[in-house]
Symmetry: C2
DNA sequence: GACAAACCGGAGAGCGCTCTCCACTTCGTG
DNA sequence: CACGAAGTGGAGAGCGCTCTCCGGTTTGTC
């Protein structure tokens, strides 16, 4: 019969399905959303009608009434103008760190039928864009990874009453949920290992002092070394990039030629440090033991890097879980999840 | 006056703005969307009303009527079960290749106020999810990066009449727009360089034979070498990962100890090849010259890698541009954009 | 000064969906 | 056998926005 066809061109609507199934729109909606009891034979008829019409619910119409989108923003926030050269987006996404976080988020969200929207916030303008984006109901909440400590975005989100979860504790305390690593404990793991190996002259290459994680790793390491009877640990500051690890290692060896153990605040810099050590003719781990942090680039190093593993995928998944909880229950209390790192022993220490 | 306040709790709507500005909904809509002429003083009044109410248009309501979402899907498609071990999302996003593509896409899309939705398609189920996602109007089109040659997703998209643009030419010709690199020309650049340096015994480490780009790089290189009077070029197959480059290099040197130049089909494998060469005590470039491809990991190599640069960010931006054109005009003809690579000379050759 | 042409702003009809009533069955129970 | 409780499905009111008509007001032109 001709009335079985959609009445207008374009995608079939609920109305079309209802007509084909011989029921009302409301019933079809119930079947689709699994609400209340609908007699089995009618459910069956509706499913058949959906099948034959090729119906797919319209997301915009649905979220107009439910006030939910089934999307979350994954925003990378930082200072775009910090260093010249490449644009922010190139630097950010090229970092394996981001990739692993994205992987963890997607791994958790995908089975739940929700997808992350990639956003970058590197200026006042783009930060406002993120807030607007959420306010217009384009996403239900935000997962925020800040590259800079003083990032104002988290506060903007809190002030706007938008659900959000942060990667890492914010520099300035604000009422927002976050997931972080026990950096100090991780650094202590490295210190223990170095001492256990018999290293006597230990140094460290830290991350930028203005990022809390870098501070924690540094002070955690120094403290643990102090506990092992080494009150003074030479330290140089890097920027988490390989080149700074290389330069830092050179400086360290020049100033303290007898160093026999180094804790480097992330794997990327450790990679550079390894290069420097090789150039200087020092064997790793025989002459100098090296421990990295993150377990991000460890296997591609020569020798394979002993490192403090940060389970980024798990942490990212945890962020997603927390965010969905906040979205489901706006009154949910702010919480923090601190994950414990583990030491992965390979060959460099 | 009390009527200036939104009549209900929740976000202000067009209606609220209209009331405050003393005009109709339609006029506010016109001002916001910049359609037709609205008297300057009224525009002014509307803007003020928007300001005071803190109005933000509701995306769902808007796209319900415009049938546009202002979002595109960025889908990474491939075979998830190919190799055991880590889940697909971890492998994919950890690859700097993906990061650069994402960066290019975001760089182009962001100034236009549109954001990519990250999706993964690694099974029949998830491929259907992508199609459904687009069909329900959650995104206006798809940017597809396939990791596998026989990926069925592009065809599904074409069959569903959904706007989509591919990264790289599909293995099987289908009517879909794509952006690709002139791989053969790039390989020829490498051949020319090696020959110009005086290399006499040249070999190559190729990518997997089932990916078209790898084939093109291999045959393009062989052909160019033939043109230089070298009809036979020893070749081993890798999988684009560092370890396979290292293994390949060892095999090559064992079978042909007099090799003095190698073209490696991507930088990641070249990185591994460099490691192998160092282990074998060969100096680069004095004993063996090495040229990579992509310019992705080149600067972190020792020595810095001479490589064929693939401008991924530009290509990704071009994909985005093409997709938006297809979205704006559904009848737009299918096109392909082939980008020319350049040789970046560093120290390895 | 009259008439058309341009301009401006309002009314109102949906876009496709969810969800709250309500009416109608069908049971179980005293 | 009557009566309320539970279960089942329909009607209809919006969600917030865009956009087509249309009527009213200016402006230009002979």
């Amino acid at each position: 019969m001709s009335t079985d066809l959609p009445h207008t061109s374009g995608a079939p609507t609920l109305e079309d399905v209802a007509r084909v199934a011989g029921v009302s729109r409301a019933t079809v909606s119930r079947v689709i959303n699994g609400i209340r009891n609908v007699a089995p034979d009618i459910q069956e008829a509706v499913h058949r009608a959906i099948e034959t019409t090729g119906y797919v619910p319209n997301r915009a119409a649905r979220s107009l009434v439910t006030r939910r989108t089934g999307a979350v923003a994954l925003v990378v926030s930082g200072a775009g103008d910090a260093k010249g050269g490449e644009p922010f987006e190139s630097r950010v996404f090229a970092d394996p760190f981001f990739g692993r976080v994205a992987g963890g988020v997607v791994g958790y969200l995908r089975p739940r039928g929700i997808h992350p929207v990639l956003m970058l916030a590197d200026s006042a303008q783009t930060r406002d864009d993120v807030v607007s984006y959420l306010r217009q109901g384009s996403a239900d909440g935000a997962l925020v990874v800040s590259t800079h400590a003083e990032d104002p975005l988290p506060k903007l989100l809190v002030d706007a009453g938008l659900p959000a979860v942060l990667w890492a504790r914010p520099a300035r305390p604000i009422p927002i949920s976050y997931v972080d690593l026990a950096h100090r404990a991780g650094a202590a793991l490295a210190a223990d290992r170095l001492v256990a190996r018999g290293c006597r002259r230990v140094a460290t290459i830290s991350g930028p002092f203005d990022v809390p994680a870098a501070q924690d790793r540094l002070s955690g390491f120094q403290e643990a070394m102090a506990g092992h009877g080494h009150p003074y640990v030479p330290a140089v500051e890097g920027d988490f990039m390989p080149a700074s690890g290389e330069a830092g290692m050179h400086r360290l060896m020049k100033e303290h030629p007898d160093i026999d153990g180094v804790f480097v605040a992330n794997d990327l810099m450790a990679q550079g440090a390894l290069l420097a050590l090789r150039d200087l003719g020092r064997r790793v781990p025989e002459d100098v033991a090296v421990i990295g942090f993150d377990d991000s680039a460890a296997v591609t190093c020569r020798p394979p890097l002993t490192t403090v593993r940060q389970p980024m995928e798990d942490m990212a998944a945890e962020m997603a879980r927390l965010l969905l909880a906040h979205v489901a229950d706006p009154d949910l209390q702010v919480t923090s999840v601190i994950v414990r790192p583990t030491l992965v022993v390979r060959q460099s220490a």
